[in-house]
């Protein structure tokens, strides 16, 4: 398992490094059009060919990967913050707060995630700048993805509240805030980290789904999801390398999943 985790970390690190470094090179401009090379195959000028607007596929892949790999963890972090605020706080408080939070979490979980996501994303302004659309998409993911981690955090916080060291802390007169900060949070950290790593690939996939439905990151800014839309023309253009974008999603997500699973197992 350790080897698999190491390989996964190396793969994801290589992809992340390549996308960050490559994305800054002027050679790889994702929006520049080469109008003489529409839907061209791979060449020394365009390593993965060009798309239907003459844009370099490799450059778009680098930028798309960077967008997804930067914003998905940010969305997961936002989601974890919300989950911590709702789940851990109510788990620590217990009683009515815990019951109401649990009912709210169950309610949110009863609405299918993609349906909710689609509904909220579609209702946000669609005529925003590409960069803002990327931020909006991942913020929506972060804001709506808190319920499942909150439920797990709440269960752990509730168990911790009833543990002997917490009871001893209460009996010793330690304040609630200090108990939360010094005792509860360090004990919740492994669960929080595991949930974070589980959320990252989920958010990458969710963004891909939204992009495929035309509600993700706006053109010309690429993301791993928006690059998948080019798959529609795979057969008509025979031997199209844009498939690689989908493959990259697969590798990134598998690696992240591996990391998350091995991390979860470590605790």
């Amino acid at each position: 398992m350790k080897t698999a985790r190491l390989v996964a970390v190396l793969v994801i690190a290589a992809i992340a490094l390549g996308s960050v470094v490559g994305g800054f090179l002027p050679r790889f401009d994702y929006a520049r059009q080469d109008r003489d090379q529409i839907d061209a195959g791979p060449s020394s000028a365009h390593w993965l060919g060009t798309d239907s607007l003459g844009r370099d596929r490799f450059a778009r892949l680098l930028h798309g990967t960077r967008v997804s790999l930067l914003l998905a963890p940010a969305a997961a972090a936002l989601s974890m913050l919300l989950a911590l605020a709702v789940g851990a706080a109510s788990g620590l408080a217990g009683g009515f707060a815990e019951r109401s939070a649990k009912a709210t979490i169950d309610l949110v979980l009863s609405i299918p995630w993609l349906f909710l996501l689609l509904m909220v994303r579609a209702l946000l302004p669609l005529n925003t700048s590409p960069a803002l659309s990327a931020v909006v998409t991942f913020t929506v993911l972060g804001v709506l993805g808190w319920a499942a981690p909150a439920r797990i955090l709440q269960a752990h916080a509730s168990r911790l509240r009833q543990s002997q060291f917490m009871l001893l802390g209460c009996a010793s007169g330690i304040t609630r805030g200090r108990l939360l900060w010094r005792q509860m949070l360090p004990n919740l950290r492994p669960v929080l980290l595991a949930q974070f790593w589980i959320s990252v690939p989920i958010f990458i996939l969710a963004e891909a789904n939204l992009s495929l439905l035309g509600l993700g990151v706006a053109e010309p800014l690429p993301s791993l999801g928006s690059l998948l839309r080019e798959m529609e023309t795979v057969l008509s253009l025979g031997g199209d390398f844009c498939r690689l974008a989908a493959l990259l999603v697969l590798v990134a997500v598998v690696s992240s999943l591996q990391i998350a699973v091995s991390h979860k197992e470590a605790y």
């Binding site: 169950d106 309610l107 949110v108 009863s110 609405i111 299918p112 995630w113 993609l114 349906f115 909710l116 689609l118 509904m119 909220v120 994303r121 579609a122 209702l123 946000l124 302004p125 669609l126 690939p201 996939l205 969710a206 891909a208 789904n209 992009s211 495929l212 439905l213 035309g214 509600l215 999801g225 998948l228 798959m231 529609e232 795979v234 057969l235 989908a246 999603v249 697969l250 997500v253 598998v254 999943l257």
Partner: protein, 286 residues
């Protein structure tokens, strides 16, 4: 049992009411609510623009709108879709059957494939088959639902197959984890040590233990199917509830969206409650 059924019915009704209200509130308070692309038409007079703006005037107060919605539902009126200009009832009646057939086929095939693979791995004690199934389901888990739908369009495969492939890895993962955990239980290890046949262990000792969890998963998989049906129907051009949800979300059609939310939440809640009740009934009998 009657008490349990009535408690669950009340809970389900409350969940549907509250879920519908959450959806309506999210839609109403979204920044883009009330904006209509017709307002961008320079040929329209100020009176026409005002009339377009007034079309959503009755939807401004969400509490009154939602209360009015349930009052109308009580009389059998689900309202009229603003974007499609047709009664919502008619639209739902046309499309529910399509989604049910698609979801039914997909769930049946996904459950059959997952159960058969888990049973075969468990009975045959074939690590290669188990590994292959795990790798296959792992690979499918890494693909977005929309990607699988698009692949089915490219390969001319039916939509239900795409939906089935989206559901399969989740069901298979859970079933195989459940089976592995049960196989490590003391009574199963004893049964194996005593030389009981593998099929006998599976059907007489493993299944009764995991029945409740399997029924719960069956309930959950309905929600998964509804969720996954949106990209599948939208991208494969299947005129079902998923496609309608996508169209209504893009058109910001509040009456249609609320009805769809209530329908979807009702489907998920009833499936989960039904699975729980079934498990309780089985336990009460044994």
């Amino acid at each position: 049992m009657v008490r349990s059924i009535s408690r669950r019915c009340i809970l389900a009704a409350l969940t549907i009411l509250a879920g519908g209200f959450i959806s309506a509130t999210l839609v109403r308070y979204a920044p883009g609510f009330g904006s209509d692309e017709r307002q961008l038409d320079a040929r329209l007079s100020s009176e026409s623009l005002a009339a377009i703006r007034n079309e959503t005037a009755d939807e401004r107060g969400i509490a009154t709108y939602y209360a009015g919605y349930w009052r109308r539902v009580w009389h059998g009126d689900l309202g009229t879709s603003r974007s499609l200009n047709r009664p919502v009832r008619e639209l739902l009646a046309e499309r529910v059957g399509v989604t049910c057939r698609l979801g039914g086929k997909a769930m049946l095939s996904a459950w059959l494939a997952a159960a058969l693979l888990v049973c075969a791995s468990s009975l045959g004690r074939a690590p290669a088959l188990s590994l292959a199934a795990t790798v296959f389901s792992g690979a499918l888990l890494c693909l977005p639902a929309g990607g699988l739908a698009l692949l089915s369009v490219i390969l001319n495969a039916p939509g239900w197959l795409a939906l089935s492939l989206i559901l399969f890895p989740k069901i298979h993962r859970y079933l195989s984890n459940l089976s592995a955990a049960t196989n490590n239980m003391a009574h199963i290890i004893t049964a194996k040590a005593k030389g009981l046949a593998a099929w006998r262990i599976l059907f007489w000792h493993v299944f009764p233990v995991i029945r409740r969890e399997v029924l719960a998963l069956a309930g959950v998989s309905v929600g998964l199917a509804i969720s996954a049906a949106i990209p599948v129907e939208a991208l494969c051009g299947i005129p079902g509830i998923g496609q309608l949800a996508w169209q209504s979300a893009l058109a910001r059609d509040l009456p249609l969206l609320i009805n769809l939310s209530v329908l979807v939440i009702a489907g998920v809640t009833l499936a989960n409650s039904g699975a729980d009740l079934l498990a309780e009934a089985r336990e009460a009998r044994t």
